[in-house]
Amino acid sequence: MAGPSSVVVPRNFRLLEELEKGEKGIGDGTVSYGMEDGDDVYMRNWTGTIIGPSNTVHDGRIYNLKLICGPDYPEKAPIVKFYNKINMSCVAPDGTIDPRHFPSLGHWNRSYTMETILTELRREMTAPHNRKLHQPPEGSHY
């Protein structure tokens, strides 16, 4: 952890760091993200992808999500929404992640990243209360 002199990286430079990391590719590629509109100098809209974990009902499915990083990011969490229909405890009926049921958003802090959110969502898919939930047909969208 940073000491008392901790330096605060401003929003845009933080997002540029995340962009560069996303472009290089993360880990084994089971989660990824990039900018939705490469022309947007304010880097507001992002697209994330999660590959459903094996040994769950999500195995083999590819989930696309929208992440909106507002002007107060990363002080405030992004808004995160599934494009693909999914049945999961933290997902509202319109596909939006409900921060009350997803600690990475509900207890957000500025050290979290879009990678944190996607990785934690994928982990959530493997949770006992989610891994066997009946799912909407593959390929259906909100």
Partner: protein, 154 residues
């Protein structure tokens, strides 16, 4: 505020000098809530397609500054072979040619100089560089148009 209490003396001195003796055509002022984060304005140099334009940039001094270079980016859109769509700048002193002997001022002067001397042989914006090499006159015309559209008030 974090980052404010223990701002290194070097940054304090550089900031004071930027404010008291600004370089011609360049202004840089720190944000109140983050003294490592600067709002920068560079005026388009004369006799370039950027003349008459007011270009906004942002600059951030990372934790390991001055051992590491500042991070700088254009916020105003600009048609230039070494500046990409997100405003990122391809300039050697911002990367491997950085030296702690350089300063915020020298970086900004170098960016201003880059506007006067586009280098399409070391491109960041590939399409713009190609345009520049194949038809410089037309590329310069596009750059003027962009200056008018994005970097001029009203």
């Amino acid at each position: 505020m974090a980052g404010q209490a223990q701002l290194p003396r070097r940054i304090v001195k550089e900031t004071q000098r930027l404010l008291s003796e600004p370089a011609p055509g360049i202004s840089a002022s720190p944000c109140e809530d983050n003294l490592r984060y600067f709002n920068v304005i560079i005026l388009g140099p004369q006799n370039t397609p950027y003349e008459g334009g007011t270009f906004k940039l942002e600059l951030f001094l990372p934790e390991d500054y001055p051992m590491a270079p500042p991070k700088v980016r254009f916020l105003t859109r600009i048609y230039h072979p070494n500046i990409d769509k997100l405003g990122r700048i391809c300039l050697d002193i911002l990367k491997d040619k950085w030296s702690p002997a350089l300063q915020i001022r020298t970086v900004l002067l170098s960016i201003q100089a880059l506007l006067s001397a586009p280098n399409p042989d070391d491109p960041l914006a590939e399409a713009v560089a190609k345009h520049w090499k194949e038809n410089e006159k037309e590329a310069v015309e596009t750059a003027k148009q962009w200056t008018l559209t994005y970097a001029t008030d009203g």
